[in-house]
Symmetry: C2
Subunit: 334 residues, 2 copies
Amino acid sequence: MNIAVDAMGGDHAPAVTVQGALWAQSELEVNITLVGDQDLLAQELSGRKKAGNGIRIHHCTQMVGMDEAPLKVLRRRRDASIMVAFDLVRKGRADAVVSAGNSGATIGAAALLLGRIRGVEKPGLAGVFPGAKGKVVLIDVGANVETTPRQLFEFGIMGDIFTRSLLNMDNPKVGILNIGEEGGKGNERVRIAHDMLKKGPFNFIGNVEGRHIFSGDVQVIVSDGFVGNVAVKLSEGMAETMGIMVEREMSRSLLSRVGFWLSRRAFENLKRNLDYAEYGGALLLGVKGVGIICHGSSSPKAIKNAIRAARDFVNSRVQDQLEERLGRFRSGGL
Amino acid sequence: MNIAVDAMGGDHAPAVTVQGALWAQSELEVNITLVGDQDLLAQELSGRKKAGNGIRIHHCTQMVGMDEAPLKVLRRRRDASIMVAFDLVRKGRADAVVSAGNSGATIGAAALLLGRIRGVEKPGLAGVFPGAKGKVVLIDVGANVETTPRQLFEFGIMGDIFTRSLLNMDNPKVGILNIGEEGGKGNERVRIAHDMLKKGPFNFIGNVEGRHIFSGDVQVIVSDGFVGNVAVKLSEGMAETMGIMVEREMSRSLLSRVGFWLSRRAFENLKRNLDYAEYGGALLLGVKGVGIICHGSSSPKAIKNAIRAARDFVNSRVQDQLEERLGRFRSGGL
């Protein structure tokens, strides 16, 4: 198993990507190829404790900035780290890519170099949320800004397979994100997708609302990428705000400060439960290969966990199942 | 001042609406007209402590159920409580309507009976969020499922006026909800609206992301109603899930339980900070009159606070300013 890490991608690259890769390599028994500038990466590695020979550097001369428009730069920058990383997968020299870089560029590079699975119109990005009753998969969390009903239907198939195979959930409930649970709600796109999903080969339970993303009553939630992206970022912001508010309230009185200190372990657990870094990243579904997209501000722990997710994805039969199941619907006239 | 309360609307009507109205009447020095079934409401009132003569019942024979499709029933049900309530405003016999009933029916009844302000294509629903650095107004949180750029522009104007006048914020920052802060992001509708908002008579700062809804760095966030509605419900669900997780973690050890008990006041404050019931409801902007839409599961406290919001709205000059400012743009060629 060899995971290609876009070492130049992310707000704190390459320091964070290199540290995350080192942790992953020693804990997870995977080989890692750091893709990026040879000198810079060698320098980052030199100061750190290495576990063995499982880390290699693959040199490239270019990168894509976090704020660059992917469509404009990608085709002209074949030696950008994210392009080179997916090229290693295409050539069979790596099994998966992990990137905390420009997410549009990551999705674009994957589509360009690996291609889409037959039957898939658009790849979707699956995010994993910590629900009160268990994990919830939201797809799409931002690969697309406009989605057709047919694409939403594909997200249902992909989300179902992913959730069964990687999260080990039996017969997950699949819902579509809408503004009310009753039938007939929402805009036209969502209403048509609802009717298509009803006929899908999974346990479709109908419309769900924003609150279901954190309840865990439904395990797979289909959404267009604009709404899904807002949902992810809103959740992050709200968790952060609540953290600030907790500290503010707790510091107001001596009693609360003592209470806070006594229950600090509980707070740590809570924080871990809500921490996206625990799953590491979002999974790109629908391309011929494995790509994990991390938050630009990922910690080394998040990078490590994303590498674990990539390893599990490769070891699972998800990719085969996606190809088999989606191919069946390609000619199914849906 | 007389506020008409749709006493039949909400998951726990009329018990909750009557209780909320009684509290509001005694605390806020407003007169209240409970609109609904005379016998039922008289019975609800009879068991409760009354503050004075400020509560009246206005009898009607019909209502709209929470799950009914508003467009289908509204025109044929002129004696439904929500229709009668807005009719009281139309006739000058009430100053505002508060409803925890079917929100589509409330918006529909307001548009039918009061009409839109000149220059407004579609009314918008403004929700108030508790940001880390102060309140954040999100408009629209669900009045519309499809929104044009022109309507998003109108939401910007209305949100700005509302925030200045009712939340007393000076020169609030206005942003548009998008999937990235850089220019050129998002779908076509949002990109066009972005360019229109740039020329608007307010402090437009560009694209904002989901995380800004809880940060308080921006005070007004413009969004289409589908995304806004998902955002509201996601926030509610996440707050609930975090509450469950806190209790679960805190009960795991004796130390945490003691800590939790010592800091219980801080938790109560936190809960209040995050409680939507504190503001009471969402404000319908763009119709010729004041309507406050409460959550179907509102508590009596939420109803009371919504009545306070209605009173403040009536006392403010918001409505005049909306008519003046939007009228100016009607012929402005935007």
